[in-house]
């Protein structure tokens, strides 16, 4: 075998190894999701079977039908939960993004006293686990009378998300060259116009990703929500999963079905925003 063929073979093997590695990694990531979808369609006997039944014998949408059939027929108030989740997640995301944009811009563009300390402080808040916050928050919220309200949970989620959105958006504004806003001002823009016409469009992908993250954190959050919500007034979907547990049994199939209902909007939103996440938009602004 000459050197060229040897090299070709080496490249082929490398490529194969690469793809195989990726396949394994993807399988590990996707399998739990796939198992949830599958479990939502199978009878409980099959889900609990030992050894596991790999190939489903029968599939049905019974769990989904039951879920929406109302109390008494195995149903839960899924539409209420869904509405609560949407209202709370969207509102808290919008607020966190607005504050995050203002804060991120300020951190990226301006010098002020205590900048580093504040930034570090923001990061430190992220080290506190949600569950540790839930009890103190519960006391405070109980005193304020905002337990079991949308407002209470929105406040909690905004506080949870703001440090993160500020941090992420700061990074994206940093990547937009200062010269651009200055050029825009010379071209006749006010500071405000320069921001909306030039800097915002260029940081949009970053703001979109910050938005997605904030939304997903709010959408999936369980620890705080389980303490701060009580009833269909404010219970979100993750808390709703608990409806499938009773004193002696857990309805795994129903729980999986609700999990799928939860995953679908999050997945859809991610797909919609994904195209805005394409970065590299700023290339060509300055020399290169």
């Amino acid at each position: 075998m000459n050197e060229n063929q040897a090299n070709d073979l080496k490249r082929f093997l490398l490529k194969f190894g690469h793809l195989f590695g990726l396949f394994i990694a993807m399988a590990i990531i996707c399998l739990p999701g796939f198992w949830i979808v599958l479990s939502s369609l199978r009878p409980t006997v099959e889900i609990m079977a030992k050894p596991p039944v790999w190939i489903p014998q029968s599939l049905s949408f019974d769990a989904y039908i039951a879920m929406f059939s109302g109390v008494g027929q195995g149903g839960i108030p899924v539409l209420d939960y869904f509405r609560n989740s949407i209202v709370i997640s969207v509102t808290s995301t919008v607020i966190a993004l607005t504050i995050g944009m203002a804060g991120g811009y300020a951190f990226a563009r301006y010098q002020f006293r205590g900048k580093t300390a504040i930034f570090l402080g923001f990061m430190l808040t992220r080290t506190v686990p949600g569950i540790a916050l839930s009890l103190p928050l519960f006391f405070v919220f109980a005193k304020l009378g905002i337990i079991d309200t949308h407002f209470g949970l929105i406040i909690a989620y905004v506080a949870l998300n703001v440090p993160f959105t500020v941090w992420l958006i700061d990074g994206f504004f940093r990547q937009v060259p200062r010269d651009l806003a200055e050029a825009a001002q010379i071209d006749g823009c006010t500071r405000w116009q320069a921001f909306w016409q030039v800097e915002f469009p260029l940081a949009r992908s970053g703001i979109a990703s910050a938005g997605i993250f904030a939304f997903l954190i709010s959408w999936n959050e369980f620890a705080l929500a389980s303490q701060l919500t009580r009833s269909t007034n404010s219970k979100t979907l993750p808390v709703g999963l608990l409806d499938y547990t009773s004193e002696f049994t857990i309805d795994w199939r129903g729980m999986c079905a609700l999990a799928v209902v939860m995953i679908i909007p999050a997945l859809t939103l991610t797909f919609i925003v994904q195209k805005h996440l394409v970065s590299g938009l700023t290339s060509g602004a300055v020399k290169g």
Binding site: P177, D179, L180, E182, A183, A184, Q185, I186, D187, G188, C189, T190, R191, Q193, Q197, V198, P201, L202, L281, T282, S283, G284, A285, V286, K287
Partner: protein, 365 residues
């Protein structure tokens, strides 16, 4: 079109003063280059004129308007940035028409203004492209197009050619000069490259450490530098500058070698005065190979060893050792020289400069 005038302009960052009360009057349609080493305050001065940097003291007038506290958009200026600062999310046409769009002009107005500027700069083919699809030179041209579309009172250029390679830089230099001839506007051009300043400007402002060292036409700052700094900064290769003392009608160098005191300085120096002697490489030459071969009035010739040669084709730069230091000389109609070879080196003293060692100011009248 307008004049620009700076009066006692000061810039401070906290307690650090970086521009010290400078005064400058730029005439209507004049091309003025601010030149100096990095950190001399030239870019800061330009940014103050643009309104991108607040001023700490003094006054700026554009035309008869005082613009001290006006935001950039009210100064009717255009600026070309070193980084070009093209808007990456807009096409070339949108980039160029952006200022008119902000000003609320009609689509037709914008289109025709952009088309005209594109024609001037040869950008017609590129109007639908994005900045990322352009080469460095093309981006530079779009940046200039964006500047001329506005029809501003004053053009400000901030090291516009620094990011281009040497060949393209020369080409764009010519284009900027042509452009100025065509649009006939007031231009303030910042550069650290003295060749750019010399070739483009009507007048050159040489800055150093936040002060203006000298203002003058290119010929003037080259021929009659006001200080040792200007003498060393302007001209390529740089002027030979060596310290000496005046002693009984001679210039005595550190190692005891002497040159006759040039005629024009006889009455301007005192015995024992410490000075810096300056002579351009054009005015030091191997005997018979100079610009003024023979006929110049005040030529002094010494025999010295060659320490290095740099052949450039039509001429050779010869480094020769005299007074314990290397002197750069320009050899026209070059012939081959060996290192260490002893040659006759002619000093045309009529072209020489003397600077006071302490004040660094020129001793010429």
């Amino acid at each position: 079109m307008a004049t620009v005038s700076l009066k006692n302009l000061v810039k401070k960052y906290g307690h650090l003063e970086v521009v010290h009360a400078i005064n400058l009057d730029v005439e209507d349609r004049e091309f003025v280059a601010l030149v100096g080493p990095s950190g001399c305050g030239k870019s800061t001065t330009l940014r103050m004129i643009a309104g991108l940097e607040a001023i700490s003291g003094g006054h700026i007038h554009i035309g008869d308007r005082e613009v001290n506290n006006l935001p950039p958009r009210q100064r009717n200026i255009s600026m070309v940035f070193q980084s070009y600062a093209l808007y990456p999310h807009m096409t070339v046409a949108e980039n160029m028409g952006f200022s008119l769009k902000i000003a609320g002009r009609s689509q037709n107005d914008i289109a025709s203004a952009v088309a005209e500027a594109a024609k001037t700069l040869g950008l017609e083919e590129l109007l639908e492209r994005r900045p990322s699809q352009l080469s460095g030179g093309q981006r530079q041209r779009v940046a200039m197009g964006r500047a001329i579309v506005r029809n501003p009172d004053v053009f400000l250029f901030d090291e516009p050619l620094s990011n281009l390679d040497a060949k393209l830089r020369m080409q764009m230099r010519t284009e900027i000069k042509k452009l100025h001839a065509k649009v006939q506007s007031t231009v303030i051009y910042v550069t650290h490259d003295q060749v750019e300043a010399m070739t483009l400007a009507d007048r050159i402002v040489i800055m150093r450490d936040g002060h203006i060292e000298q203002v003058g036409a290119p010929e003037e700052v080259f021929r009659r530098p006001a200080s040792r700094f200007v003498a060393g900064f302007i001209g390529s290769p740089t002027m030979n500058l060596h310290n000496a003392a005046v002693g009984s009608g001679k210039l005595v160098f550190a190692n005891g070698d002497t040159l006759p005191l040039p005629q024009q300085f006889r009455d301007r120096v005192t015995e024992g005065q410490k000075v810096t002697f300056g002579l351009r490489p054009d005015d030091v030459y191997p005997a018979g190979h100079g610009i003024h071969s023979g006929e110049a009035a005040e030529v002094h010739t010494v025999e010295v060893p060659v320490s290095l040669t740099e052949p450039l084709g039509n001429e050779t730069l010869v480094f020769a050792e005299f007074a314990g230091q290397d002197w750069i000389s320009r050899m026209l109609n070059p012939k081959a020289l060996r290192m260490g070879e002893r040659i006759k080196l002619s000093f045309d003293l009529s072209q020489s400069h003397l600077f006071d060692a302490a004040t660094e100011k020129s001793l010429r009248g």
